[in-house]
């Protein structure tokens, strides 16, 4: 049907737009919770420190949320623009799921965010707190629906095929499909963790710079971020491992690709590989013996890590993206675990706010969560190839009737636009952080009427 270059270009376009979109929810879901908590504490105690926290993080959240909305609008239409055949086939399943996401979650966020961001002085502080919680609830619900939709594509259930279209036979099986029960907790933890590193890293920067006016502010948010991280990081490693084991069972080719082996003859954990796809072998490989088997839950080291040659050639995903996507996620996760553990030890020793080396390390960890999420999604999506609906619909058969020019021009446009937008977004974050939180004296005079103080 469509030429293979249109498929390639459309895949690149989808990858770029999806990754770009993902970086915003990766921060805003967790930030919305921080904002809700901070404002609630402010309403209950009247401590202006929490208003300072709310006002500062609101600035970053507002712009991130707005950019996430427009990037999400692109996603909604892209399913039909570039993947018309796919859209027609899965509309009765995924379309409905995403429709429910829009009506239950998206509207909730969008409806209340105006009040949350601009309602100061117009509504009672309690209403502001409620609006903040509604926005947070919306972001969490949104995560749930989207993971349900994507997990169905990873491991479809509860449907039958009629004339090339998927018709639902059991909604519970569709919505709570087997992959969802593993992937949803994994992603939920991931977005909370990535926002925590973001908050923690930026707070640490104020402590590293010893900016006197921001010290209580920075200590307060740093303590919250590291508290969340020390609790969630171990859980996340466990959930992540369970997800990998489960998905490896459902999609063996994905596991073979992200472990970086072609032949099933070693028990190494590969650190670096240079795969040769045509010949079906690695040109170069560095691995740690026994570790691959141990991570696969076999402490004797007997088990061999399965290789990609077990999968027929026309059903193999690309090893490059699956392997390095997974490594980006996993190595970052280990660094995150180490930092969270170090934070726990320092807290127990009463030195959390005064260890310059640890704080500098935290500043570097600011984007860690976003990097790990990106790597994980690259593994999940590219490891599912060549299928768009696993085992049922091939990506190459799903593309719209488009000309090469159309696909190439739109891809170029998105690439340029998103590169610009990303630069501006990062510059905005840096500027906002450098400007720092508002001085408390201003906050005291600008307090909304009726607050408890």
């Amino acid at each position: 049907m469509a030429s293979s270059s249109v498929v390639e270009l459309s895949r690149w376009q989808f990858a770029i737009t999806a990754i770009f979109h993902m970086t915003f929810p990766a921060l805003t879901v967790g930030l919305s919770l921080l904002l809700a908590v901070a404002y609630t504490v402010y309403v209950r105690t009247g401590n202006p420190l929490y208003l300072q926290i709310f006002r500062f993080w609101k600035k970053i959240f507002a712009v991130g949320f707005g950019l996430g909305v427009v990037a999400g609008t692109v996603m909604t239409f892209e399913f039909g623009l570039n993947w018309g055949i796919y859209a027609h086939a899965v509309g009765p399943v995924i379309g409905v799921t995403i429709g429910m996401e829009v009506i239950t979650a998206f509207f909730l966020e969008a409806g209340f965010i105006g009040i949350m961001l601009y309602g100061d002085g117009r509504v009672k502080p309690r209403t502001m707190a409620l609006a903040s919680w509604m926005v947070a609830a919306g972001t969490l619900l949104s995560t749930t629906w989207i993971l349900s939709a994507n997990s169905w594509m990873q491991d479809p259930a509860g449907y039958r095929e009629v004339d090339g279209q998927f018709h639902v036979t059991d909604w519970w099986q569709v919505l709570l499909n087997p992959a969802f029960s593993h992937r949803f907790p994994h992603m939920l933890l991931a977005v909370l963790i990535s926002a925590s590193w973001f908050v923690g890293g930026i707070s640490a920067w104020y402590l590293v710079k010893r900016r006197a006016s921001a010290l209580p502010f920075a200590r307060r948010t740093l303590s919250m971020a590291l508290g969340v991280l020390a609790i969630l990081m171990p859980v996340q490693l466990y959930v992540g491992d369970a997800t990998a084991v489960f998905m490896g069972g459902r999609q063996p080719a994905k596991l073979q690709a992200f472990e970086g082996n072609w032949t099933t003859d070693n028990n190494d954990y590969n650190l670096v590989v240079i795969p040769d796809t045509d010949q079906g072998k690695n040109d170069f490989r560095v691995g740690i013996p026994y570790l691959g088997a141990a991570i696969g839950h076999d402490l004797t080291g007997e088990a061999k890590v399965p290789g990609l040659l077990q999968t027929p050639p026309d059903e193999r995903p690309n090893m490059w993206s699956a392997f390095y996507g997974f490594r980006a996620m996993y190595f970052t996760a280990l660094a995150m675990f180490a930092a969270a553990f170090a934070g726990l030890v320092l807290r127990l020793r009463g030195r959390l706010f005064t260890s310059p080396r640890f704080l500098r390390w935290l500043v570097w960890m600011t984007p860690a969560g976003v990097i790990a999420i990106t790597g994980g999604w690259i593994t999940a999506e590219s490891g599912r190839q060549p299928w768009v609906v696993y085992g049922k619909l091939r990506t190459a058969d799903a593309v719209s009737h488009l000309t090469l020019t159309e696909a190439a021009l739109s891809l170029t446009g998105f690439a340029l636009l998103y590169a610009t937008l990303l630069t501006l977004w990062i510059r905005y974050i840096i500027r906002t952080v450098k400007a720092g939180p508002e001085p408390v004296t201003d906050l005291r005079t600008a307090q909304p009427e009726g607050s408890v103080v």
């Binding site: 105690t45 009247g46 401590n47 707005g66 909305v69 427009v70 909604t76 239409f77 039909g80 623009l81 570039n82 018309g84 859209a87 509309g91 009765p92 009506i103 998206f106 509207f107 909730l108 969008a110 409806g111 209340f112 009040i115 601009y118 309602g119 117009r122 509504v123 279209q165 010893r210 900016r211 006016s213 209580p216 307060r220 303590s223 508290g227 020390a230 171990p234 490693l237 466990y238 491992d241 839950h297 402490l299 675990f337 180490a338 726990l344 807290r347 009463g350 719209s400 009737h401 488009l402 020019t405 159309e406 021009l409 998105f414 937008l421 905005y428 906002t432 720092g436 201003d442 600008a446």
Partner: protein
């Protein structure tokens, strides 16, 4: 039956979008023609409180179309690829201009211009898309089969210009409602010429549709003819009210009348074309997804809709009345980094103790990471979960105790000394 309900949902969403984001976009375009920087910023801020919610409707419309009428979604979107992609680019640029403008304390010419120009581009692209759909797309079995320029017809260009008039009209009516002073007068003066232009455009587009649209409009059916006639009459009445209301109090009247006229116009179009959704031939029935999906969609969305409307109306009500600039938050001043926190001096410790401690802690960390990864999962099911529970539990207790300690030491006390 379910397909008509689905269609109603799709139309409601797109209708709400045209009505709500229409004024948004109109104000954006109007901001290009105002010289005053203060007012330009004011227009931006007027929109900033509501645009997320307004734009949600197009997303709901798109997704409802996909879920409920996948045949139409899969035919239209590839068919209007270039203008729709251009619209998405413009939507992004507009959001960028609007948010960065709103986030910076003062008026920034670049962001303001971007906001205005992108609003215009979004409108033009939407008009092209609507025109392209109305003048028919080459199709077979729910798939688009035409070439890359199928969307470019004289009718779609006219439609784009017509839509600019409609949105400008809605924008002017909104400004009359929300602003005071110069902007208010200006909006009142602009209203009637814009309304005239919109009516002329509607006439041209309405009669042009007979020529452009390849399908036959079966107006001989009495029900259809009656509905069409009623909708057109309602649109005319609303327009008359708007004509009268521009430049007169109450200020909300022109906006309400314009909304009514837009809704009635849309109904007239639907009455004329139903059950064809994508001319020339794709009907509602052929484009539909299976009944189960449509019922789920309509019931699911229908149950949520009252809540959605309720809180959207509430959000509107919060920002009712004339726009007033939020009390300027005074520009944040950067305190000098005087290093008053004082450098941290660690107490003297034996080197060996430090090395031993660090080694042990590193080993402990590696062990805990391994446990977290369920490394003993092959041997025993409970060892690793128990280890994680202990670790996370310790972290929670440490967090609570650490916070208490920090509070006692005054680590969280604001400068100025007083504690709330």
């Amino acid at each position: 039956m379910s397909e008509y309900l689905t269609y109603a949902l799709v139309l409601l969403s797109f209708g709400a979008y045209v009505v709500l984001d229409g004024y948004d976009l109109g104000v954006g375009i109007l901001s290009l023609f105002d010289r005053s920087e203060r007012r330009r910023r004011e227009y931006n801020e007027l929109i900033a409180t509501a645009w997320d919610a307004n734009e949600s409707w197009i997303i709901l419309g798109g997704v409802a179309l996909w879920a409920g009428l996948p045949g139409a979604y899969a035919t239209v979107l590839p068919g209007v690829y270039p203008p729709l992609i251009a619209m998405l680019f413009a939507v992004i640029l507009r959001g960028m201009g609007l948010e960065f403008q709103s986030a910076s304390g003062t008026y920034r010419r670049g962001w303001g211009l971007l906001f205005g120009l992108a609003s215009l581009a979004v409108t033009l692209c939407q008009g092209l898309v609507i025109g392209a759909v109305l003048s028919g797309l080459p199709q077979r079995d729910g798939h688009f089969t035409g070439d890359a320029l199928a969307w470019l017809t004289p009718y779609s260009v006219l439609c784009a210009l017509g839509l600019v008039c409609v949105y400008l009209l809605a924008g002017a009516a909104w400004l009359q409602d929300k602003t005071e002073g110069t902007a208010h007068e200006w909006a009142g003066r602009l209203g009637r010429p814009l309304l005239g232009a919109t009516l002329v455009a509607a006439l041209i587009l309405g009669f042009g549709l007979e020529v452009a649209d390849p399908q036959h409009f079966p107006f001989e059916q009495p029900l259809r003819a009656t509905l069409f006639g009623l909708a057109v009459a309602a649109a005319l009445v609303c327009s008359a009210v708007a004509w009268y209301g521009f430049g007169r109090r109450p200020d909300w009247r022109p906006f309400a009348a314009v909304l009514g006229a837009e809704a009635a116009g849309l109904l007239a179009l639907v009455a004329a074309t139903v059950p064809v959704v994508v001319p020339p031939s794709l009907t509602l029935h052929e484009a539909s997804s299976p009944q189960g999906s449509q019922v789920f969609l309509v019931v699911g969305v229908g149950l949520c809709m009252p809540f959605v409307l309720a809180y959207n109306i509430y959000a509107w009500w919060v920002f009712r009345g004339k726009f007033r600039e939020a009390e300027r938050q005074s520009p944040t001043t950067t305190a000098p980094d005087d290093g008053s926190a004082g450098p941290f001096v660690p107490p003297p410790e034996s080197r060996i103790v430090v090395i031993v401690r660090r080694t042990l802690l590193t080993l402990l960390g590696i062990l805990l990471a391994a446990v977290s990864q369920d490394i003993f999962g092959g041997e025993s099911a409970w060892v690793d979960p128990l280890g994680i529970a202990l670790l996370s539990g310790t972290a929670l207790v440490a967090w609570i105790l650490g916070d208490r300690r920090a509070r006692r030491l005054g680590e969280y006390d604001l400068p100025g000394g007083e504690r709330p």
